[in-house]
Each structure stands twice: as structure tokens, then as C-alpha cells.
Amino acid sequence: MTTHDVVIIGGGPAGLSAARRLVISGIRDVVVLERETEAGGIPRHCGHTGFGLGQFLALPMTGPEYARRCVAAAGAPIRTRTTVTAIEPGGRVHVTHPETGPDVIIGRCVLLATGIRETPRSARLVSGTRPWGVMTTCALQQFVYLRNTKPVTCAVVVGTELVSFSALLTARHAGIQVAAMIEEGERIVARRPGDWIARHLLGVPVLTGTKLVAIRGRERVETIEIERQGGRETLACDGVVFTGGFQPETAILRSAHLTLDPSTGGPAIDQYFRCSDRQVFAAGNLLRPVETSGMCWAEGRIAAGNIVLALQNRLPDASYPVPVTFSEPLKYVYPQRFTIQMPVAAPPPLLRARVNRAARGRLRLLADGRELWSRWVHLLPERRITIPSDRLPTTGLQQIHVELIED
């Protein structure tokens, strides 16, 4: 059993960034726990470029290059192959390691930065058999970029989020043909011109308004059935890649004492990234699905700044939180509560949100029923919504509410 100032769970961009900031701030006793053999998180197997813009003074780099840069920048010891099995009050983190077995590591503060995963086929309740060849983008990337293998030869990509285009690039890299990219909605979820790139640069048919109805095949995927324009069609393929539908990786929180927010799927936090246990903080994509690695890096840094204050007993007491509520079509808003009375010069906190369908109208921030801020917006699913909260009163507040008055 060892005790540290800060125990960081998860060695992806958010956790590594937090480690870096803590060490720079003079917190020497920081340890990062990483369950994989290498730290770096999800970018480790995103073989394509586009990472690190605005974070490192460098041109955009590939995911693995970016992951290595993050690891090198962390500046704190990273314990790889260390699996956290439970978290208990008092900053007690139960771990296990292949060579040393179970142990307890205690942090004066604990930062959760365990990231996200995609929704697999099972949780999407897709009909049909369960043959080989059904996977998520991340699994495909690991096959291709980490293990240099080709799990299927001809795939259908389900979904059109940003990550779905990453699946296309991964398939292209491995020489996997993509029979089609399908999307239930009437337009792609990612920003245009993603579909144009898919169609014209990658030669992949993008079928919107198309639902995957069933997967067929005994040992391997043989066909899929899709529904579009009121009819059913069969597509031949030996792989189905389910993309996106991200959810926070809360495996270790499932039996913990922390409050989870069912709408984000992650732990509920206040504006200091502090969980319901004041010793525990959370940052990065664990907080919600899903943001870029760059934003996770930024959050890790801000969370670490708050942890520094917490270690100095300079963070406001969390005992009188003001809940943040919201209404449809908003899907989630976080932080889920505000600790009012802000004597410290923290960066002005932001509220972040998503909608569960396309909508336009006036987005409003209300404090005890009084409008503090509003703006006319056109909102799309999976797009980040940012609401400034610097006008929130610092005392005497009961409730914060975010709503969209639709046109």
C-alpha cells in the first residue's frame, strides 16, 4: 500500500495532460495508472493524421505519434499494465498487476480519466446471428494498426460520426473494401464534407436514411439486411463495423460510491471537475461522449489546476451544490452542478451540452428562472454546445437551468 498526492486513473490525453500540469505546478508525487502495456489512450491506434493541432508546436500528426508526444510530455511516473479493480472512499484505489498482484494505492486526490468506448452491436439490439466480423471502429483500428492484421475483407460501416470516417481510413489503410457507409438519419452526423470525401475520394457509397436490420451468416458475416426508401435490400460483406455511439468507460465506477449521471453516462461533476466525492475528480471523455483528444488534453490541464487548489485546501466547499437541469431536446449538460461561492480565480467555467436531435431556436441559461444568457442557435446531434456561465451569481442560487425554446 502506497500513498500519493495524486493518483490518475487512465493514461490517455486527459490523464497525461493532468499529470503534466500537476508536475509543473510543483506536485511531485503523482502517479498515472494505465491498464494497457503502453500509455497514450485511444489515439495509439488511430493511424491517420489530424492529431495535436494547437496542442504541440508541430504540424498535425498521426494518432500514435501524438500518443507518444503526450506520454513524453506527462513527466510523471506511468504504471502500465496496472488494472484498477475498485475505488473506495478515502482515495483508496484497488489495483492489480501481473507481477505484483493486488494492491491498494491511496491518493490524497484521485483523477478519473478512463475515456470512452463505442456502443457494440449487442447494446444496439441488432437482429440476426452473431458471426465473426462484427466489430467497433476501435477494434478494427487495433487489428490494423496495433497488430497489423486484417480481420475482414469487405465491410459495411454503420454510422457517420467523425469516428466513422476514421473507420473508412483504417479500412483503406488495411486494404479492406467498404461496401457502404450507412446512416439512419437523413444527413451525416459528422460535418460536411465528410460524405463528399467518402464518396469521391474514398469511393464509398454513403447511404443515408438507411437502417441496418439484420446480420446474417453462421461462422462469418455473409450478408446484412438494410432498410431504405421503404424497401429491404441485402448487401454482401464479411464485416460490419459499428462506429460511434460513444459511452464513458465507467467499468470501475459501477460499484463505486460516486454519483453517475445517466444522461452523460459519466460521473457527475461540478465546475471544478470534482465528483460527488470531493477527493475524486474526473476529466476527458469519461465525462461525456465525445470530444477530440485536444479538448480532453485541455480538460486534463484545467482539472489538474483545480486539484492543485484542492491539495492546498483552496477549493470551495462542495457541500451546497446548485443542480444544473435541462429539458428536451437537450441530451445532457455538464457540469451537473455548480459550487457557488467562487473565491478563487479559476478560469471562467463553461457549461457544455449536446442535443439528441437537430433543432433550432433560442438557447437560454436561467438562474432561478431568470434568463442570464441566450442565443439563437441551430443545433445538430453530436456537436459541442458551449454556454458561458460567467454571469452566474456567486451566492444565493437554487437552480441553474438550460433550455432550448424551439422556433
Partner: protein, 456 residues
């Protein structure tokens, strides 16, 4: 090569019979057409150790379930097989169902289960506070427990092998001809000669039976779909929540698993296809809805997996087990939903038929125990010890040591499904998001037909 006995079908029933006969000294071969054991009906069930509280009086099924239950309790520690002692609560959700409960208790008493009793609403809600308010009353069945569906048959086969039995996988029986004594079975892997053939072919039972005689029964696979909820759901119930049964099925249950999940199911759908265990979105949604209606907290828990099993139902209610001495054949068919519990009892019964008609079996004075790796969450697992190599599957905490073990020994995993059933890898909430590529890498060269190529 000639054997005393050839058993066709390595489902849980075939595996248990194999164990019993091999331990009894018969030269036994277990023939399975799949790449691994449990590739048919036995791979998808509810993993309950049934008491037989609702069993048909004087039926062979009830006798086998009782004997199987008792033997499992006797041997499970020797084979390192789990027992999650939940007990069952058969819950009435309306007045009509509540009115049936006394009859159920009375029936259970007549089967010999004296500890089955009525539970009133306050006691029910004290014991199961998360049940929906509509729960009115219940019947407690204290002995109704949970086991692991895959490890017991594996342990049975391994014990049979330790006692001299042989297993032939990827071997499909395509026909057979009578010899002077016994049979010469035609298979895709060459002929197999045996003095006695035991038909334990599950969903193919009537087709295999036709080798010996016009089958007196017809198998109509009955599909049961299940939804597996993520592990947080398991803490919402202590007991297995059972429904008041209907004429056709035991109904939809809400039960924990040895692996720490909660399952809701099964459906009961008759179908012609003997292999197509497809799930169906509409049915899965119905199951989820039923689960939430009984246990509202399930609404906030994600689904980990879905699966379907095919139960080999016949037109008869009871098991179809018979010895045909003049044909050197034993039929073991129509083992629908109680096979996991009943298997050890069935094996005893079949061993009795065998010694009565075909040859003496001895009781092994010193059985060789072949403990299997534990997969149950409430018992120690390798990740809690030193030297497990690496955690390969983070959701289920399946380790490199367990995967290596699954490829070692006399019955290594025969396909990916077999590996998953031996280790739980890729079976957790992420369904291979994190581990499938690593699992494939570890399995490369060990699983013949894993369709993963080196990238060009």
C-alpha cells in the same frame, strides 16, 4: 479402432454421459460435429441449477433433475465449479397470479421440496426492495441456484478424458451400419466403430435417431432469446425472480449470472431451423421492457450482450430416454430446458441402462478430479493473484494466463466461441472494443479457422 460406446453430441448431456461411462470403465468416444463442445443447444441457457419445484410428478425429467442437482452439489468443489446460492422467488404480479401461488407451493411439496413456501408482500419487498410495486406475493424456492453454464460440461469432459475417454471434434456422423456387434458410424473424419451408440445429438436428435430406427419423436427447436444487462444490474436482486409459469413455458425470468451480470429471458419461439440462433430486435425490446417492468432500475443499465439458445423440444413433455438393446442403441433426446441441471442425473440413468443391457460399469474407487479454471465473479480469479501475465479482456478481467490455459491440456479451445466460453474474453460490456485484436493475436496459430490475416 473400436470403442465400447460412442456418444453422438458433446452438449452438456453428452459430456455428462461421457464422464459417467468413462469413469465406469467403458471405452468411450464422444463425437461432436462442431469445432468445440457446447456448440449447439447447450451454449445458450439460463445457467440455473433447478430444484425441479415445477417438475412433472413421476417424470423421468424430475428424477434426473433431482439426481443431477444432488450430484452437482456433491462434486462441484472437486471440479472447481461455482455455485451462486441465490434461491428463487416466483413472483405474482397480479391477483390472478397470486391466486395460483398456493397450488405451486403444494405441487413443490408433492415433488418433495418441503422448504418451498409462500412469501407475503411485506416480506417480499423487504427481501427484494428493487422489485416494481406491482409485485404482490411470491413463492420462495430456497434451493434454486445459479451456476456457470459452460464450465461444468468442460469439467465433465476433462474428467472423462482423465479416465480414458476420447473426444473427436469436427466429426459429423453422417450415417451408420450395424455390425455383428454394435455399429460402424460413418463420419466426415472416417468410420468409428462402437459396441453401443448413444444419441445425445440435441437439436439433431431425430435425424441421428433415424440411423437406428424411424424416429418416434420430432425435434422442433424452441428458441429462447436473452438480454444480458451490465454488472451494476446484479445488485438489484438477491434471488432469481421467476414468473408464474404458463402451459407452454416457464416464462421470462430475471436472474443473476455467475459472471456478475443480470439476464432477462428467455422467449419461447418454435422454429424449423436447427442452427439459426438469431436474435431479433423486436423480441429483445420486449424482454427489456418486461425486465424494466419487474425491476425499474434496469432502465438505467446498459445492455452488455444478447444471445439466443435453441432448446431441443419434442412433441412430448418428458425426456425421451430409452435403451434399444436389440439395436445396441440408447436414445437420449428431448432434453429441453433442464439439461444443465439434469445432465448428471441423466448420465446416471443412462449408465444404469447401459449396465442393465450392455455391460457392467464399475464405480471408480478413486475418481481423478479435473478442476477447471473459475469464471465466477464471487470466487477467486487469476487477476487477483500474482503471475497472470496481463489482463487481456478488461471488462471481464480475463487474463493471459487464462487464455493460455484454454489452449493447453487435453481439450484446448476449438474455436473462438470455445475460447470465449472458457475465459469470458470479449464477452463483457465492450464486446471486444478493447481486446478483440489482442485476443486474435494470442489465438493466432492456435485456432485453425480464426479468419484474421496478416495485413498485406
Amino acid at each position: 479402432m473400436s470403442y465400447d460406446v460412442a456418444i453422438i453430441g458433446a452438449g452438456v448431456v453428452g459430456c455428462a454421459i461421457f464422464r459417467r461411462l468413462a469413469m465406469g470403465g467403458a471405452k468411450t468416444v464422444l463425437i461432436e460435429k462442431g469445432a468445440d463442445i457446447l456448440s449447439g443447444a447447450s451454449k445458450g441457457n439460463s445457467a440455473m441449477l433447478h430444484t425441479g419445484y415445477d417438475g412433472m410428478l413421476d417424470s423421468l425429467e424430475l428424477a434426473c433433475v433431482r439426481a443431477g442437482y444432488a450430484e452437482y452439489l456433491e462434486i462441484h468443489r472437486h471440479l472447481n465449479l461455482p455455485l451462486l446460492e441465490t434461491g428463487g422467488l416466483l413472483v405474482a404480479w397480479n391477483e390472478a397470479e397470486a391466486a395460483e401461488l398456493p397450488t405451486i407451493v403444494e405441487h413443490a411439496h408433492r415433488t418433495g421440496l418441503a422448504d418451498v413456501h409462500l412469501v407475503d408482500e411485506p416480506e417480499l419487498k423487504r427481501w427484494e426492495p428493487h422489485l416494481a410495486p406491482a409485485a404482490l406475493a411470491a413463492v420462495a424456492i430456497p434451493g434454486e441456484h445459479i451456476i456457470d453454464p459452460w464450465s461444468p460440461p468442460l469439467a465433465y469432459v476433462l474428467q472423462g478424458i482423465a479416465h480414458g475417454g476420447e473426444v473427436r471434434r469436427r466429426t459429423e456422423v453422417t450415417g451408420g451400419e450395424r455390425k455383428l456387434v454394435g455399429w460402424r458410424l460413418a463420419t466426415n473424419a472416417g468410420p468409428i466403430e462402437a459396441g453401443v451408440v448413444i444419441n445425445a445429438a440435441g437439436n439433431y436428435g431425430d435425424l441421428v435417431e433415424a440411423i437406428a430406427r424411424p424416429s418416434p419423436f420430432r425435434i422442433t427447436p424452441r428458441k429462447g432469446q436473452f438480454v444480458v444487462f451490465d454488472k451494476p444490474a446484479a445488485r438489484f436482486v438477491r434471488s432469481s425472480i421467476l414468473p408464474v409459469p404458463t402451459e407452454r413455458t416457464k416464462g421470462v425470468m430475471v436472474v443473476r449470472t455467475a459472471f456478475g451480470n443480470l439476464i432477462v429471458g428467455p422467449t419461447a419461439e418454435d422454429q424449423e431451423d436447427r442452427a439459426d440462433a438469431a436474435v431479433d430486435e423486436a423480441q429483445l425490446r420486449v424482454l427489456i421492457d418486461q425486465g424494466i417492468r419487474k425491476l425499474p432500475a434496469l432502465a438505467d443499465v446498459t445492455v452488455t450482450a444478447t444471445y439466443a439458445g435453441l432448446r431441443p423440444a419434442t412433441q412430448f413433455k418428458d425426456y425421451q430416454i430409452a435403451a434399444l438393446p436389440e439395436r445396441n442403441w440408447i436414445t437420449v433426446a428431448g432434453i429441453r430446458s433442464t439439461g444443465l441441471t439434469g445432465s448428471l442425473g441423466i448420465a446416471r440413468h443412462v449408465a444404469g441402462l447401459y449396465s442393465q443391457h450392455f455391460g457392467r460399469l464399475r464405480d471408480p474407487a478413486t475418481p481423478i478430479w479435473t478442476p477447471v479454471p473459475n469464471l465466477a465473479e464471487h470466487l477467486p480469479r487469476p487477476y487477483q493473484q500474482i503471475g497472470y501475465g496481463e489482463v487481456v479482456c478488461h471488462c471481464e478481467l480475463a487474463t493471459r494466463a487464462e487464455i493460455d490455459a484454454a489452449f493447453a491440456g487435453p481439450l484446448p479451445a476449438g474455436d473462438l466461441g470455445g475460447l470465449k466460453r472458457r475465459t469470458r474474453c470479449m464477452m463483457g460490456r465492450c464486446q471486444g472494443f478493447y481486446c478483440s485484436a489482442r485476443v486474435a493475436e494470442l489465438a493466432a496459430g492456435r485456432l485453425a479457422d480464426l479468419p484474421v490475416r496478416s495485413a498485406a
